[in-house]
Amino acid sequence: MAVIVVDVMPKAEILDPQGKAVSRALARLGHGEIGDVRLGKRFELTVEGEVTDALLEQVRKIADDVLANTVIEDVVGVRVQDEADR
């Protein structure tokens, strides 16, 4: 079994009110050195068997078609999770 990690972020030009709220909270908590905060999504897809190039290509397509809405978000990463990460 392997895990494929897909990271999705709101497009940079789109205001992220969640990130802004977190950023303001951090400032209030005394972490003034932290500026902008942006929140995205991480998907962990578990697959049976080996991760082939064809499967990774399929996951990239799933990421663009379903996991992200590329009108408002970008897929910023598709990678196989290392054993050491888990």
């Binding site: 009110p17 809405n69 009108v71």
Partner: protein, 229 residues
């Protein structure tokens, strides 16, 4: 005329939309998201709510329901399709309408009677209005901020696709105060505020008299006239 109202898991306003269709003088037909059958309807309404709990993105999972294959085909053939609130989100997710809807700029859920300016009457759903007319219908959403890339906004504005703009404070922080848009053909329209909640005296927004606002009814009548024409 028969107007299909599709229920998805988590839809809230399907019964209100059915009632609006009936009050407009026509026959509502309840449709189910899991079927591949439009039951021969003449027009479609995708109502508001929180399909699939807004998981993934608002409207994203519902936009990939079995029935959406038939909805997209019907829309491309020219059938009038109206998406309200969550239904609007589904139409953008299904790429029947451009742009996307994200969390309100304030981060807050907003519920209020909303003034709108009608910008376009060349649609199946707004042909009973006049350009520049002001209407009031309820608004209730947390993720109603219309966004698109600058190029896409230029195209949307250039082609005159905007149908409604917010008047007064923009409740969502939408680009260009956009509250609703339609495709170039004018058969597919989406808007965030809720016309189906302003169709009956005594239950609408307070306008000239208490709860007297029925501006939403015109939208349901328009579509039906367009089909009859």
């Amino acid at each position: 005329m028969r107007v299909g109202v599709i229920t998805f898991p988590g839809t809230l306003d399907d019964r209100d939309a059915q009632r609006a269709v009936r009050l407009a003088g026509h026959e509502p037909v309840a449709l189910w998201h899991g079927e591949h059958d439009l039951h021969g309807v003449d027009a479609l309404v995708l109502p508001g709510g929180f399909s699939y709990g807004d998981y993934l993105r608002c409207g994203a999972i519902a936009a990939r329901s079995p029935i959406m294959t038939e909805v997209v085909e019907a829309a491309e053939r020219g059938m009038p399709v109206l998406g309200i609130c969550n239904g609007f989100q589904m139409l953008t997710e299904a790429r029947l309408l451009p742009g996307g809807l994200v969390r309100n700029a304030t981060g807050l859920f907003v519920r209020r009677d909303q003034r709108l300016r009608v910008e376009r009457t060349t649609t199946a759903w707004t042909n009973r209005f006049e350009v520049g007319q002001e209407i009031v219908i309820p608004l209730k959403n947390g993720e109603g901020r219309f966004v698109a890339t600058p190029d896409e906004i230029e195209r949307i504005e250039g082609e005159g696709l905007v149908v409604f703009r917010y008047l007064g404070d923009d409740p969502n922080g939408s680009i260009d105060a956009i509250a609703g848009i339609a495709n170039a053909a004018g058969n597919v329209m989406g808007l965030m505020p809720h016309p189906e909640h302003a169709v009956e005296l005594g239950f609408g927004p307070t306008t000239t008299r208490m709860k007297a606002g029925i501006d939403g009814l015109e939208i349901f009548k328009s579509a039906l006239e367009a089909v009859a024409a």
